[in-house]
């Protein structure tokens, strides 16, 4: 009697569909991922229990560095182009198309309009090495106000967010908030990071 031999085969599964799916997802996440551009200044944001996430787009971020310098950053290439065009006109600064493109591609900018031309002329790459003086935002010379006005014209659904450093002094923050209040921007966001402790406000008993 011949023994029936079990058919021997390696227990391998066809992994192709799985790989297909994995690569599809990789591609999706790679394309949707937005890489944070090199910020000209390091900001350590304070922690909060807030669960509200910042919208993806249509955000004007006013960064307040620990030394009180105010940075301007807005997303949307078209809107940025319109803002710099309007600002150049208002402050009588002649900017070439190339310099405007540099502005569009730049990360946060913190240069008074008087120095804007020479700043933009150096190109995007060179910005990293320059210590930007900050956008004037005091009562005597409030360029920040015009930046916000022009940004809101360029994008009427704009959301304003303040990204302050832990060590930024309150009077500076207050002056930025006062500027917003003067412009009737009465709802804005403060960018924070998540509090490390697990306690959530919802879980609290009342």
């Amino acid at each position: 009697m011949a023994k029936v031999k079990p058919h021997r085969s390696a227990p391998s599964i066809d992994m192709t569909p799985m790989v297909d799916l994995a690569f599809l997802l990789v591609t999706f996440f790679m394309l949707t991922a937005k890489f944070r551009p090199d910020e000209p200044v390091q900001i350590v944001t304070p922690a909060s229990h807030s669960q509200f996430k910042l919208p993806e787009s249509g955000v004007l971020v006013l960064t307040i560095a620990n030394d009180g310098r105010v940075f301007y950053d807005m997303d949307g290439k078209d809107a940025r182009y319109r803002v710099i065009t309007a600002m150049a006109e208002k402050y009588n600064v002649q900017l070439s198309e190339q310099e405007k493109t540099v502005f569009v591609l730049s990360p946060s900018v913190a240069v008074p309009m008087s120095q804007m031309k020479s700043f933009l002329a150096q190109g995007v790459k060179a910005q990293k090495g320059i210590k930007q003086p900050g956008i004037p935002s005091d009562t005597a010379n409030n360029e920040l106000k015009d930046w916000i006005i022009q940004s809101r014209i360029a994008n009427p659904t704009l959301r304003v967010a303040i990204k302050g450093d832990n060590e930024a002094k309150y009077p500076k923050v207050n002056s930025v908030m006062k500027t917003l209040q003067d412009l009737n921007v009465t709802i804005f966001n403060l960018i924070t990071n998540a509090e490390a402790d697990a306690e959530k406000p919802v879980a609290k008993e009342n």
Partner: protein, 188 residues
Amino acid sequence: MAEISQGGGGDKGGKVRSKKQSTRIDMTPMVDLAFLLLTFFVLTTSLNKPQTMEIRIPDKDDPKNQQKPIEINEERAITLLLSGENKLYWYPKINPETLQETDYGVDGIRKILEENEAKINAKFGGKEQSMFVFIKPMDDSNYKNMVDILDEMKVVDIKKYALMEPTGQDKNIINQYASSMGATTPTE
């Protein structure tokens, strides 16, 4: 079927058969890599979005705000003074003489807010008559202090609070307090 390959006599007319190899490749390393990348992108995209805290400030042009200021029973008020070097002072009602120092921790300001809120709610019945917090950041306080206190308002669930300028009296009382504690007076 019953073919027997003769070993050793390869050049004696026997056909050389190429061994049939499977065309399958081991995909495991590729899958590993794919999932590694997948995990990386999933994690970075979700962590990238920063948290925000929404705040509303009063509208200056709103005619409602241009009328006379809201009157609040002083019994319901509590004042927090945010000072430099992460110091936090508070006093109940509107009586700066009862100034006390506390800190930003759970056992510090949160306890005080909760205790006072309970006291005021017991006396006035809560809801519309709840505690009103005056937040007064001094010039030497920093942004973190302000965010910490605003966050505390959210955690303790205090609906009524206002950011305002400290008065001269507040500044004096802090200076007095600091000098009475033997510390150097904060520079203005």
